[in-house]
Subunit: 441 residues, 2 copies
């Protein structure tokens, strides 16, 4: 923000909201706004389906989690550019296990069979005639927020660290309607759900959840679910770990036990660091998590002054009830404002006004959901799992459902970095030797 006096730069004062924003921009001559001027003749955006600005190329990059292996795709949502709670379909994260199919919806079928009275086959058009619902839900890969990425260096940006979560308005038919029509037989307690990808991705889902709020979705953010997300049909299992939301859905078999499929056991078992050789399965809901998306790692603040701190919080257990932000390394916490309405099992945008004095500082957020769950500090996670910080730094084990508080360090030069394992952070969090937990509720 600049005064109109050409060439003069000053800090504007007198408004709490704006105090401290420096005049960073060149100030145009006042006369520039008084007379018509020449304009570029216009972008040729005559495409049927609209496009982003050519100046937003950087903001459209989802990156490849594994650049050496573009298929199956692992792509991350650029949360550092996110605003509001909706993720555009073109930026939704992708974490596939097998090569995805190219499906003609007119040839696609959904089969429901197994322990049912009436096996049924649906076309996509038939499903679209049935009673539908739309809900805004987050989705998150269970391996999101790995403190390290598969044994590599500690990552720095909110996209690299937390970009395997997105949020959409999903539309589809409640699975309970289809199951009721098929007639679940006594003893039918689980579903084996299968996708139409090359690897026939399969996952087991408990019947209780299936009858509660699962959708057979054909719509995402007002249009057809995209190929990356399971076109033409995707199972939406609100709040559960990402893989339950089976893409390219083609088969639901009612069974009497979990089927212990390859991905849900070998790949997605929880090898607990404190129990050598033992693994947990079927953790279901993603735990409460929050992260500041601006300012965040990899960004640079142009100078001291006013900034809105903003970020996202979500929980697979229910609705976010409260988000707190600390701007002093965890000593004091302030309650952030939540974007209304707060949706259950959806990204929730939080915002807090803040003035940066230019000194080094650590900022972080923590959230609480309406089921009484709280986002833990790294020290609390360590105590619960019986590990030390060294575990996270020196092993390459995937940290499933990792939801420790994410601290960002802002240096005096304005640069922002991941401070999860800074000694100062650990000491303040009571995680390093001699530290104690000074957080105040």
């Amino acid at each position: 923000m600049s005064s109109m006096k050409p060439g003069r730069r000053r800090f504007l004062k007198g408004s709490a909201a704006l105090a401290g924003i420096a005049a960073g921009a060149g100030v145009p001559a006042a006369g520039a706004f008084g007379v018509p001027d020449e304009r570029t003749p216009g972008t040729k955006y005559a495409t049927e389906y609209g496009e982003r600005s050519r100046f937003e190329a950087e903001a459209t990059k989802r990156r490849h989690d594994y650049p050496q292996r573009p298929f199956p795709a692992k792509k991350l949502t650029p949360l550092q550019n996110s605003v509001g709670i909706i993720t555009p379909n073109g930026l939704h994260f992708v974490a596939d296990h097998y090569t995805p199919p190219d499906i003609n919806p007119e040839e696609h079928r959904l089969l429901i069979h197994g322990m049912v009275e009436r096996p049924l086959v649906f076309t996509v058009d038939e499903l679209k005639r049935l009673p539908s619902e739309s809900h805004i839900y987050f989705m998150e890969c269970l391996a999101n927020s790995n403190v390290k990425d598969r044994g590599g260096p500690v990552l720095d940006t909110v996209q690299e660290l937390h970009g395997r979560t997105s949020c959409s308005e999903w539309t589809g038919v409640p699975l309970s309607i289809l199951l009721d029509r098929a007639g679940v037989q006594t003893g039918g307690s689980w579903l084996l759900v299968e996708g139409a990808d090359a690897g026939r991705f399969s996952y087991s889902i408990p019947m209780g959840k299936a009858m509660e709020d699962v959708l057979v979705a054909y719509g995402q953010n007002g249009e057809a679910v995209r190929p990356e997300q399971g076109y033409p049909l995707r199972l939406i299992v609100p709040g559960f770990e990402g893989p339950y939301n089976v893409k390219w859905l083609r088969r639901i078999k009612v069974v009497d036990q979990p089927y212990m499929t390859k991905v849900e056991t070998i790949l997605h078992g929880y090898l607990r660091p404190d129990q050598k050789g033992k693994a947990l399965w079927f953790q279901f809901q993603m735990p409460p998590k929050s992260v500041i998306t601006r300012p965040a790692g990899g960004q640079t603040l142009p100078g001291p002054g006013f900034y809105e701190i903003t970020g996202l919080a979500w929980s697979g257990h229910g609705a976010i009830r409260k988000v707190e932000v600390s701007t002093d390394g965890g000593k004091n916490w302030k309650q952030a404002k939540l974007q209304e309405p707060v949706h259950s099992m959806a990204h929730t945008r939080f915002r807090l006004p803040w003035t940066w004095d230019g000194e080094e500082v650590i900022i972080q957020s923590r959230c609480f959901d309406d089921q009484g769950e709280a986002q833990p500090s790294l020290a609390e996670m360590n105590r619960k799992l019986g590990v030390t910080d060294e575990h996270w730094l020196k092993t390459s084990v995937s940290a499933y459902q990792f939801n420790a508080i994410q601290p960002w360090k802002i240096s005096r030069d304005g640069s922002v970095h991941n401070a999860m394992f800074d000694s100062a952070t650990l000491a303040r969090a009571g995680s390093a030797p001699g530290g104690a937990d000074h957080t105040e509720h």
Copy 2:
């Protein structure tokens, strides 16, 4: 939906929701699901920004309102394919008056001047540091739902008739914050708002609205506002006619009267049919409107049976309180279910289960908002304006804020057409000679 018995087709009964859906699809052999089969090797969707399925080409067409004049663009949202309440950014309607600019956001500035204590200039990055809000709002061209399109034939599809409305989650800075900082002088009662397009599109906005809920938006559905929608900055004026939402926003001048700009007077004056030569200006809010999007004109029902009737309702005055649907030409009305949460001044999805018996029928919806406004029948509109149906059929005057109930006729062959001016509709609505209004509340 088909039974699994190959070759046998039947109507499935016993479930209210599904009763009557015919087995329209070919039934695959049961064995087809039992063994692994070959799959196409996968779409090459390795783009950084995701894309729609190649099978959705038809659903991505916004059409050109004026094909002979692609610029400035007039493009329509394909409401017949809409689900939920969010419009994807690539399908948002466009109704430009001048050639749009190609703006580099780093060079763009927003000027606030006129009757203020401190003229201010903001860069886009400076605006993004300020307190922000996100809200889901509809937008609608004031000329949406013309019963005829500029003197042409009566249109048939929900896209052609009503496709100049869309709904997004907008993110930006409340204009009140910027005006407070600039310091509005006594007597500053209106804003003259200007875009950076070739024609310097300008519109006058009353100060009361500006201080209430207007946003300077840089985000739409989680990403940067697109060039078609005003990149990098657009004014969002919730509930008001489309043109108030000035694109490519570059200047806000505080003034003491409406400026009677060319577009807001000559082009957007309300030439009332009952007051020759007189025009109304500054109608502001769009009135309550609803329309069934499926089944809708241009579609064909495959046969008798169960269908969910679904559509959208919205009002510039507030939140939709109730939507009613008639499936007997307006004699009886049933209350539809509204998608929760209902947002104020936003598209609201409504749904009603229905079984079609295969006979010719007229279906239609009407809505009521929380400010006591009701969507009128065509007869009620005619009475209010002092015109006859002939007026709409024989003149080429744009019908601004036209919000009469939209009837669709479903013929015995399943085809659906616009029945606004069918004699049967008019008679039932009490609009044609000898008719009477039989609607029941």
